[in-house]
Symmetry: C2
């Protein structure tokens, strides 16, 4: 395989000219494509259109005789909790169903801890400076919550099966102001990492502040892209067995199962934490939208209904992901320096380009009508220390649009890479030894 830096100056110039022409052609296409966010496509949303007429004429009672139209029921309708408890591998009485956004539940959980403290806190978190461990690359909205409330973020590299454990164990035992850690255990955003049982066990066992909490955002628990449907870990049981029953705050939602903006969100934790959450929540609201819980329960029917639905999502999504990796392979596979993930689930492909070029790639793409998530978005404070990571969200556009966008993106990757290398060779004091290489590789 070839590295751009292996090219002679002439070859590099030729490549640059070739990609510049390709980029001009790309500009001429006047694309208008959006790969910024992990949004379901209309075809995916169509799968759940039954919801548009549910719960149906005269249907407002659940099977226990609750009038779902009225106030109350702070923990959410048992019918919907019963469906999702096995999928999330948590006891149904330790599962809370909320409104349409699990991000909101994460926010509120954090707010309660900041203003009231957790069940294990000596004081509200906001009384002293606190820190969170942030495996990177990660989810920008998690990091935005920390930034919003002045929580210092400590980046730790995320590998294929979890983050750097040694580093985390050292950090949390030495610094008791580290109160939290973000985890997307299945198909992490954007890298598609899957936290193994062993890694999870280590995170649950390690000594840390008594009120240290893992914000376990199981956003993609059932969002498989292959036939391997890895079940969710029984993380609450594991936490209890590890001697830290209250360490995990679990979150999930149907945003990428039914309707992204009109689904049901979930909170799962130890019995003490659930009681703590509900006590705080009961000051905030009299109850969630139980009609939407009923609507979802009637539509999904059971855990099997969710699994069947997710397979239909997979039929729509998997080909788009295949397009992404196929085109990246075809266009960039001959060059070292660009690498990308081939995830088994979730909503993203994580692309690493030549160091110091991600911002330029996203800029070039934007000018060509291909909107990508901002470079650096997957890092705390939006700062990718290597300026190399780009998150690709292929779910929303059509397969043809995905193909066009990724092909255009590849042009931007090569153009930005060649630009940067040419610029560094043009510098008389260029520190890059490759700049002097004249030989070619086969």
């Amino acid at each position: 395989m070839l590295s751009l830096s292996d090219l002679s100056n002439d070859e590099l110039t030729a490549l640059h000219e070739e990609q510049a022409r390709a980029y001009d052609a790309l500009l001429a296409k006047g694309l208008k494509l959006d790969l910024t966010r992990g949004k379901p496509s209309p075809a995916q949303l169509d799968l759940s259109n039954e919801l548009l007429t549910l719960p149906g004429e005269g249907h407002y009672m659940d099977s226990t005789g609750t009038d779902c139209r009225n106030y109350g029921g702070i923990q959410g309708l048992p019918a919907i909790r019963t469906i999702f408890a096995p999928l999330l591998n948590v006891p149904v009485d330790q599962l809370v169903a909320g409104d349409n956004s699990s991000l909101s539940i994460m926010h509120d959980t954090l707010v309660y801890a900041l203003l009231k403290g957790t069940v294990d806190s000596a004081e509200p978190w906001s009384r002293s400076p606190i820190k969170f461990i942030c495996p990177v690359p990660g989810y920008d909205r998690h990091f935005a919550l920390c930034e919003q409330y002045g929580i210092e973020m400590i980046s730790v590299p995320l590998g294929h099966d979890g983050p750097d454990l040694d580093q985390i164990r050292r950090l949390v035992v030495e610094d008791l102001s580290i109160k939290g850690m973000w985890v997307v255990p299945m198909y992490s955003n954007p890298d598609g990492a899957i936290y193994t049982r062993e890694v999870t066990q280590a995170l649950l066992e390690m000594p840390a502040a008594g009120d240290f909490r893992i914000f376990w955002d199981n956003a993609y628990a059932v969002h498989h892209l292959t036939e391997i449907e890895t079940p969710a870990l029984d993380v609450l049981t594991m936490a209890a067995q590890a001697g830290h029953p209250n360490r995990v705050f679990g979150f999930a939602s149907t945003s990428k199962i039914t309707f992204a903006g009109a689904g049901v969100s979930f909170f799962a934790s130890s019995a003490s934490n659930v009681a703590w959450y509900l006590k705080n929540l009961s000051k905030r609201t009299i109850g969630p939208d139980k009609i939407n819980h009923l609507r979802h329960a009637l539509y999904l029917r059971g855990a099997d209904g969710v699994t069947a639905l997710m397979r239909r999502h997979r039929e729509i999504l998997a080909p788009k992901f295949e397009q992404v990796t196929a085109i990246l392979g075809k266009r960039l596979g001959d060059y070292q320096g660009a690498t990308w993930t081939d995830p088994d689930g979730g909503y993203f492909v994580s692309l690493d380009v030549a160091d110091g070029t991600a911002t330029r790639v996203v800029e070039l793409a934007k000018d060509a009508g291909i909107a990508m998530t901002a470079a650096g978005a997957a890092f705390p404070y939006g700062q990718d220390p290597h300026d190399r990571n780009i998150r690709i969200a292929p779910s929303f556009p059509s397969p043809d649009e995905v193909a066009a966008a990724i092909d255009g993106l590849a042009t931007c990757v090569l153009l930005a890479g060649a630009e940067k290398l040419l610029a560094s060779r043009a510098q008389p004091s260029g520190a890059h030894p490759a700049g002097t290489q004249q030989h070619t590789h086969g």
Copy 2:
């Protein structure tokens, strides 16, 4: 009119025995009635059953082409904001539509001010002790929010057309740690007070902390019980004209218009405050349930649709309120000492019984199967200094049940009053001069 204290000992004993027999008969009925909360009745909820099949097959786009199933639209669907802006007398672009609970919006607004400060705050409210003005009697959930976050509450008496202005003006100018005030401007909970334009003007003009905020909970803006449909004040314009454009945080919801647990909530404020709210909210969620906004917009059609619906609510509610006041009049009208409101709107009748007996009345009622809101609930920290106020919520039970409950309640009021007076007369050092009176009035 007769005061219980005017009765001779014999007469009082006779009354006590009579009410004790009535109470025994009440116990024997084995009632199970709930007048604790302002919950709509099933008949009221039935009015909006069209929502159960809306937005309808294939309907998920709003008129601007937004796919309401997907993420986004943090300010809420224009269609639903357009319907409620005139009813709340606010500009549509200064109105935000949220999920099912305005209490949640109040909570979140308070949290943002506590953790981030308002647009006019030098620092987050949580950095220093702060206080709120609480007109009493008032809404227990407002007071619970203050208590939850350690905000000191200062009670100020509420009259028929607003609270004691002199007292408030003196308090807020002297103590700049007073950052907020709860107001239910129309048909206050529980007294049914209506803040006049003059009182409102004074509250908007008065000197106070730069980040002093009136939490203007217009929960009953369109909830008239008579044909007089007083329109909402244009409070945002009034605030701007009074030189304090950011003073008002406005709240409302459809909880008592459509479905109590599955409606739409609203936030209205100055342009700066709305920008501040949305900026904070955008860390918490990607957007509200727009399908529910669309569902409501299709069902309500326009402001006129809401007005028509509220008249149908009135047809169901007004007779229940008439039952309450008629039975209270019949049973308690002959005695001084018990007074009650006859509200023109809202959800409550506020009953004042003999000082020091409200707790006992609620206890007696509870034992007889009539659940009333806890005595003192309408006061900060649940402490009614006179132990005399009882909130009656007649909306949920059927008219017959309301009649039975209020008749039973009247028995409890008389029994508790007679009990207390007898006990005070039995004390040799009874400070009550009435204890020695032997004459009767006609």
